[in-house]
Amino acid sequence: MSLNHLEFDLAVQELRDEAPFPEQRQRGLERVLSRRRRSPKLPLAVGAAAVVVGLSLLPLVSRRGGGYAWAEVLRRTEGAENVHCVTYNAAGQPVGELWRSGVMRASWGRGEDGRIRFEDRCDKWTFYSFVYWDSLKGPNARQFAWLWDVTPQMLEGMKRFSRPRMVVEDFMNTRRTHLVRQERVEVDGRTLQRYVLLMYGKDLETVEADPGSGRILTIRSRFGETCRYEYPETVDASVFSYRSRISRDVIVFDRRGHPDPQHEPPFMPPVIQAKGGIQLRKASVSTDGTLYVYWTGHLPDKNEAKRLRILGTRTGRVKWLGYYKDGIHPVTGPHAKRLVCYRVELPEKVGDKITIRVPWGPRIVEFRDISLEKPQPFTE
């Protein structure tokens, strides 16, 4: 049969003329008036046959949760407060882990080099985030993490993206996902319901779920990654602690209760010592291991800068000498404009105190035994 025999106008007219059969109208009217939607009645014999065939095939045919009513699957899934998921790469090495217990969530991921690259933990109120930086390797450098208040926007994002896929239905919430096939399989002596899903029109994922509870047990991607799910009765509370499990000396910057950086006043530390027209305001070691010294009163020029000295530790390359620039908001006001920042590398471990000599013309203004501010370990 060929379509080129099709008469388009005639075909459209045939479509327009289509109407329900009288019995369909009658059934429809009854249900609409009674506001009760039911499946159309099948002829009795066919219906009875369908019931018999359907019952006989019930163990083989899965509806969402492997034979359970969907409401039952949801109820069981909601009952599973604790979820533990480990992701393995194609070589079978664990590359990520996720824990969830109620509102709390913790995860980590490993980079291609095998090193753990990130950790995060959160609940409804606090978000902990740690990323391992290769660049933080100097003798004074410290890896660091952040603690933030969870904002409504973050909470919304977490609701959308942090939900582990515990039931196959979750996959269907992703765009362009289609069920290719499903079957009952035996894996290591255990009966599982296997779903093959085509995601985004190109990625095949195989999901195996417990036919009894509907819970996902494994997800395999076409790239060889496998996620294995467990549903433990209890989870150790330390899993959700705001401490890095990767490195003990990780510094945690606690930003909880701080205003939005956009709304903070320009950076201007208080005066520590004032001498010879210079007000020393701050000396600190940053997480990247460099020394920062801040003062107001005078910015040494190029020649004066050659005589600027830090005593009490060996210094390396000067990374900055100039007015402090804030990358977040424009520095306004006379004080902010005059804040001088001196940043220098520290090639060896620095002590707790240093002496600073700031040249001003022929003079040298010396600030002795200045305490260094260092990132402090976080105490919960």
Partner: protein, 178 residues
Amino acid sequence: MDDLALAAALAENDQAAARLLFNRYFDGLYRFLRQLTRHAEDAEDLAQQTLIRVIRHAGRFDGRVALRSWIYAIAVREFGRWQRRRLWLPLPINLRARGDVVESSTNAELLLSALAQLSPAHRAAFLLHHVEGFSIEEIASVQHAPVGTVKSRLHVARGHLKRLLEQEEFYVTEPSRV
């Protein structure tokens, strides 16, 4: 009875208004959904469900669009739900009901077979325009899409049919998925 009055009566749970609604829209909805799903029983079910939803939510109708557009927008959403639900219901037996065309033997079914190769959005736009007689603006409000998008969908659908008509042989096959 105009649209707003009908919606107000439906919101008041008026049985006569429900009957009027059914008489006005059931045939068209059934036709549209049957041609969209190519399944008579499901189309009947979806048409019923659409009208039940219309009655339940009639109080929300504000008259910004025509009642017909509003009802067909609900039908399109019901069709979307049917598509998603259908993926999870691999029925072991495929019972065909009266009204299903097993062999594509008519011009209309040939046309539907050709349209089945298009996406549901393109197919719905084509059926609404050419069969149900919706204007492009009305289709835009049904599909919640810009007018330009609707025009594009119609253009794509027509182009697809034109290409098929130019082919020497067009094998009518059942769509792999609707």
